[in-house]
């Protein structure tokens, strides 16, 4: 098969990270890319006069305006994977999202504990984003990263245990699952779909169809006899 087996059921964790990396994030650049002199040249008409200038950002999957107008220490918004490369090169610091502080996470945990009937509202990418930033931009947090990490872990576990308790409501009809993040969904997908598909098949087998099938099968037999002239 042209798609490896393990990618048939759900996305790989790497693919989920890839999706999250396409999202915007705010940074403080440590470089300035805004051209002070107006450069009215085409990118592809490069010649020796302009070669000494800084290279322009020319990207084909995103708006590159903000990258070409970075001013050191003036916050701007870029795509996460670009931010991570800049960060790796010590060319920016990443501004952690508002919910990724000890205080905010404590509030979320509090919410999860007091509202056993629902999930707190978290961005769709919270878990992956937190892990990425912990690993690649740990020095950009005000709060100690180990405290943030453990709170994220707590939050994940509380939500996970709620999910587990909710699984008994799986059925052959449908589910609504608001406020679950992309990673949480991806992890649940094989289980939920596996069980619901079977529940649906059992229900379908017991109800509709069989009458028609009977007919088909009768015909099937008869056709064959006719064909064979028995």
């Amino acid at each position: 098969m042209s798609l490896p087996n393990h990618l048939n059921e759900t996305f790989s964790p790497e693919e989920i990270q890839f999706l999250v990396e396409n999202e915007p994030i705010r940074i403080f650049p440590r470089i300035t890319t805004r051209q002070m002199v107006r450069a009215n040249r085409q990118y592809d008409e490069f010649d020796s006069n302009t070669a000494k200038q800084d290279m322009k950002w020319k990207l084909i999957t995103m708006d590159d305006t903000s990258l070409n107008n970075m001013v050191a220490m003036k916050s701007t918004q870029v795509t996460l994977w670009v931010a991570l490369i800049l960060k790796q090169q010590a060319k920016c610091s990443i501004i952690a999202p508002a919910w990724l502080t000890v205080k905010e996470l404590d509030r979320k945990i509090q919410y999860e504990q007091t509202h056993l009937d629902r999930f707190s509202e978290m961005p769709w990418n919270w878990l992956v984003l937190a892990q990425l930033l912990f690993n690649k931009a740990a020095d950009d947090f005000h709060d100690p990263v180990h405290e943030l990490r453990s709170r994220v872990q707590d939050l994940r576990e509380i939500r996970q245990s709620k999910v587990l308790k909710g699984l008994q409501y799986l059925n052959e009809s449908h589910l609504q699952l608001d406020n679950l993040s992309v990673l949480e969904i991806n992890e649940l997908r094989p289980f939920i779909i596996g069980v619901m598909d079977k529940l649906r098949d059992m229900h379908a087998a017991a109800h509709s169809g069989s009458a028609n099938e009977d007919q088909d099968i009768d015909n099937y037999g008869d056709d064959r006899y006719v064909e064979a002239g028995v």
Binding site: L116, Q153, M202, A205, I217
Partner: protein, 177 residues
Amino acid sequence: MGYYDIDDVLTDSAEIPCTFNHTIPGLGFLQGNPGKSINKNTRVTLPLWMSRMLAMVGGEEDGEDIPFVELNTPTVFSQKVINAIRASPTSLDIHSLYGHYYDMAIKWIGLFEDEKFAEICSELLLQRSIEINAHANSVMLNIHSNHRPSNLKYSGSNKGPTTIQQVTPFLFDIRRI
């Protein structure tokens, strides 16, 4: 499902106890007597792929269309086993009973449009799957958080499980109209 699906091909080979409603010459090989006939009311086990068809097509007897065979409930679907599973759906290992238990159950339910059995099986499947999943998850949680042994401090909560039962539907909002 699907013609080329190995699991489905295997499920179709499940042995079903059958009773012949007619005496058929030449089918003795089905019970290990090649060349002989098979007599009316003989009980044999036949694979699902054969028995299900023979149970649907038949010959005439006393002016009535009677299928070639009558299907009898396989042991794994017998009342006795079902009761045992229902009594403790999570402890009895269905897979050791039959590798494709639920797939076979789906086919069996379809043959008789047996709603009651469908409900029982659905319940079994759900409880059993949740049990297995919970086990897998607890292993995962422990791996994730071995630096923090108190990782499950919120899961029980102080309100007790009944509260969770009452409120959980909001998590999985099954809005049925």
